[in-house]
Amino acid sequence: MAAMSGGVDSAVAAARAVEAGHDVVGVHLALSRMPGTVRTGARGCCTIEDSMDARRAADIIGIPFYVWDFSERFKLDVVDDFKAEYAAGRTPNPCMRCNERIKFAALLEKALDLGFDGLVTGHYATVTKDADGNHELHRAAAWAKDQSYVLGVLTAQQLAHAIFPLGATPSKAEVRAEAAARGFSVASKPDSHDICFIPDGDTRGWLKDAIGATPGDIVDSDGTKLGEHEGALAFTVGQRRGINVGIPAADGRRRFVLDIRPVTNTVVVGPKEALAITEMGGSKFSWAGQPPAHPETAFDCEVQIRAHADPVPAVCVLAVCDGEPELVITPTDPIIGLSTGQTAVVYVGTRVLGQMTIDRTVSAVPVAVQA
C-alpha cells in the first residue's frame, strides 16, 4: 500500500514501488471531517484538492486508489495530543505523533489486516538490514531532505513493513524532474511545511483559538515580575521576539524565554546562557530496530532535537529514575533552546538508534523553580 498525500514525494514513491515489482494500491488518508476544498497558499496537505492530486497521480501510475477516513484517530491521537501538550507547557512534534500513531500504526495495521505486505511512503530515509537480517533505519542519501528524524519513533516491527523508495535519491530536484517526466501534475507543487492541520501556518493563533489565552506574568529567573503576557501558549522556549517587558535587563542583554509554566501561567525569561541544556532525560523512548546490546553502559552517539537541527555529539545511557527506566542524553556541548515535549533522536553514524520524548532537562544556569 502506498500512502499518497497528494504531494510529489509520495507520488514518485508509489511509482517507484510499482516499478520495483510491487503490486501497489494508493490510499489517501482523510484526516479531517471538514476538509478545505482547495489549497490555500503553499501549506497544508489535507484539502480535497490534495486528494484529487493524489488520485490523478494514481491514475497515471495505473494503480487503484481509495480514500480512507482516519479523521477520528487523527483528531484524538494527533490534534488533541498537540493541544494537550501545549497546554502543559511542552512543545510537541505532531508529525512524529502522526507517524507513530496513524501512518505506521493505525494505517499499517489496517493495511496488514487487509492483506497488504508493507507501506510505501515518500519519506526521505533508508531501511537496511544488518548481517542478522534485522531492519535498521538510516538517514537518506540527501541529507538536506533527510526525514529520518520524524521516523525515529518506528519500531523494529514497523520498519519491517516500511518501504521508502526515495531514500537513495540524491536530491529533491531529481524527484521533481522524475515526477515531471512521469507526467504528474504535482511535479512542481510546493512542499508542505509546518503542521498540516494549521493550513495558514499560524500555530500561535490556532492554539489561541483552540485552547484560549489567559494573560499572566512574565518573570525573570528569580521570580521577579518583569511584565505581562497575553497568553503563555504564545511563547516557546528559546524564543527572543515578542517578550514585551518594560524593564531592561541589568546587563542590557537580550532576554529569551527559558520556561513556560502552565500551572502558574507564567513565562520565565533570562539570558541566553540559561538556555544551554547540559542533560536531558525521557521515560518515553523507543528503539528503531534492534536495541543496543548494553544500553545501560554509556555509549557515544549523536543527538538531534528537531527535524531540521544539526545532530550534535552526545553520550547516551539507559538509567533508572524513580524506579522507571529513563534514557539520559548528555550532549558534549550544551544545546541551546530546548523544550520538554520535543523529541530527541539518537543516531550512531547514519543509523537511527531510537528516540525519546524529553521529559526533563538540566540547564547550565539553573532557573529557580518559583511557583
Binding site: 494500491v25 489517501h28 482523510a30 471531517r33 476538509p35 480535497i48 486528494s51 484529487m52 488520485r55 487503484p64 481509495y66 480514500v67 480512507w68 477516513d69 482516519f70 477520528e72 484517530r73 484524538l76 493505525a106 494505517l107 495495521e109 489496517k110 489486516d113 487487509l114 492483506g115
Partner: protein, 434 residues
C-alpha cells in the same frame, strides 16, 4: 469478471439510448430557432418531452428539463421557498433528516442565506418519513419557534403563530437513495395540502422502480417532483422537475426564458431524446423488472444471511425475518426491489468495499462522498443507528443488467471479505468511545 452492484449510483445506459443520443447529436439546430432546422430540433425535443411526460403521468408542459436531479431539487426547493415569501413570510421548511445531500445542502443554504427555519422530520427505524412525523415536526417546530418569542417574525407573518401559514414547503424522498425505504408520499401530500403547504417529492431513486402517476399525486397534494435520466439508463447531465401549471417557482437560472421562464438556457435536444428512449423502456418494462429484481434482491438478502449470519438488514425486510428497527413499525413497510442494505458488525464499510473491489465486485458504502472522502451515513444516523453501525454499512443495488450470476459472485466473495475486514476492524478510529 466484474460485477456491478451499484446501480443506484448510476446504471448502464440503455444501448438504444446511446444510439438515439449519437444520432440526435448529428442534427443541427437550436430548438429556439425559427427556421426549418430549428423547427426540426424543436420537434425532436418536444416529442422527447411528451414521451418522458407519459412515463411520469404528467402533461408535457409540466416537464421542465434541468441538468439533472440535483438541479431539479434545487429549483424546486429554492424556487418554491422564494416564491412562498412574496406575499407573507413563510420561513419554515419541513424536511426529513435522511434526505439526499441535494436536499439537505439546499435547505441548509436557505437557512443560512434566506432565513429559512428547518423543522426536521424524524425517520422511523426503517427509514420512513410518515405523514404523522410531518405533523409532529410541524407542531414541534412551531412550539420551538414560539418559545423563542420572535416578535419580529410574528409581525412579519401577520398571521400570528399558525404553524401551517408560516411554512413555505415540505420535501421528502419517495424512496431513500441509501436504504431503499419507500415513504408514503400520498399521505404526506394529503396532510400538507389540507394545511395549504406544498410538497416536493424527490423521486430520483424511485424513478424507474416505482410507477409514477403525477396527475394522481398532484391531486393528493404533491406540487413538484424531481427525476434524473442516468438512474433509468439515460445519459448523465439531464433530469427534470415536474411542475404543474398552477405551481409557480422563482427560477434559479435567468436568460432566454426557455421552458416557461422557469429554466433558461439552450435546451439539450440530444440528451432529451436519449433520456426519452431510456425512460420509455423503463416504464414499459417496470412491472416485469420489479418482479425480477425483487427476486434477485431476496436471493441476495438470503445469501448474505446464509454466509454472514451477523449481518443486519437496514430498512424494511421483504422476506419476513426480523430486521433492525422493525419493532418501531406497526404496519408493513416497503423497499425498492433493487435495493439491499446491510450493516456488517465489526467491519469498516470502506474495508469491505476495498476487499470486494479487489475481488471484482463494485458496491457502495451508501454514503455521500465528497471527492471520495467518506462520511458515516447520515441516513442510518437519522434512523437511529450508532455511528459504528453507520460505518459498517454496504449498499447493494440492482438494475437492468443485473443477473443471478452477479448475486452469486457477490455471495461467493463476501465471506472472505467479511473475515478479513473484521480482522482490520476499526483501526482507523477510536472504538472506546463507541
Amino acid at each position: 469478471m466484474s460485477v456491478y452492484l451499484d446501480h443506484a449510483a448510476t446504471t448502464p445506459m440503455l444501448p438504444a439510448a446511446i444510439d438515439a443520443y449519437a444520432r440526435a447529436m448529428t442534427v443541427v439546430g437550436n430548438p429556439a430557432s425559427i427556421h426549418s432546422q430549428g423547427q426540426h430540433a424543436r420537434r425532436m425535443l418536444e416529442e422527447a418531452r411528451e414521451q418522458i411526460a407519459w412515463t411520469l403521468g404528467a402533461d408535457p408542459i409540466e416537464v421542465v428539463f434541468t441538468s439533472g436531479g440535483t438541479e431539479a431539487i434545487n429549483l424546486a426547493l429554492k424556487g418554491l421557498y422564494w416564491r412562498r415569501q412574496r406575499d407573507v413570510a413563510r420561513p419554515r421548511i419541513l424536511v426529513p433528516g435522511g434526505e439526499h445531500h441535494a436536499t439537505l445542502d439546499s435547505v441548509e443554504w436557505l437557512a443560512e442565506a434566506a432565513n429559512a427555519q428547518l423543522s426536521w422530520v424524524e425517520l422511523d427505524g426503517l427509514g420512513r418519513a410518515t405523514a404523522d412525523a410531518f405533523l409532529v415536526a410541524l407542531e414541534q417546530g412551531h412550539e420551538a419557534h414560539r418559545r423563542r418569542d420572535d416578535a419580529t417574525f410574528a409581525t412579519a407573518s401577520g398571521l400570528g403563530f399558525d404553524p401551517a401559514s408560516e411554512t413555505a414547503l415540505g420535501t421528502v424522498l419517495w424512496a431513500n437513495n441509501e436504504v431503499g425505504t419507500i415513504s408514503p408520499i400520498e399521505q404526506i401530500g394529503s396532510v400538507l395540502a389540507a394545511r395549504g403547504i406544498p410538497l416536493h417529492v424527490d423521486a430520483v431513486s424511485a424513478y424507474g422502480h416505482l410507477p409514477i402517476n403525477f396527475r394522481a399525486l398532484h391531486e393528493v397534494g404533491v406540487s413538484a417532483l424531481s427525476v434524473s435520466a442516468h438512474k433509468v439508463g439515460g445519459p448523465v447531465g439531464i433530469g427534470a422537475l415536474v411542475l404543474p401549471r398552477t405551481v409557480d417557482v422563482v427560477p434559479l437560472i435567468h436568460g432566454g426564458g426557455q421552458q416557461r421562464q422557469v429554466r433558461s438556457g439552450t435546451q439539450d435536444v440530444a440528451a432529451a431524446v436519449s433520456f426519452a428512449v431510456a425512460a420509455v423502456n423503463v416504464a414499459e418494462t417496470l412491472a416485469a423488472e420489479s418482479v425480477r429484481l425483487a427476486g434477485l434482491r431476496d436471493a441476495l438478502i438470503a445469501g448474505v444471511r446464509a454466509v454472514v449470519p451477523d449481518a443486519l438488514l437496514n430498512g424494511p425486510d421483504p422476506i419476513g425475518a426480523a430486521s433492525i428497527g422493525a419493532e418501531s413499525n406497526g404496519e408493513s413497510a416497503a423497499r425498492l426491489a433493487s435495493n439491499a442494505h446491510f450493516t456488517f458488525p465489526g467491519c469498516e464499510g470502506d474495508s469491505l468495499l476495498f476487499l470486494l473491489d479487489v475481488a471484482g465486485v463494485s458496491v457502495s458504502t451508501g454514503s455521500a462522498c465528497q471527492a471520495g472522502i467518506p462520511e458515516p451515513s447520515h441516513v442510518l444516523r437519522a434512523m437511529g443507528r450508532s455511528e459504528t453501525e453507520a460505518r459498517g454499512a454496504l449498499r447493494l443495488s440492482l438494475g437492468r443488467t443485473s443477473t443471478a450470476a452477479d448475486v452469486d459472485a457477490f455471495i461467493a466473495a463476501l465471506p472472505g471479505a467479511f473475515v478479513q475486514a473484521s480482522r482490520a476492524g476499526f483501526a482507523d478510529r477510536d472504538v472506546s468511545r463507541g
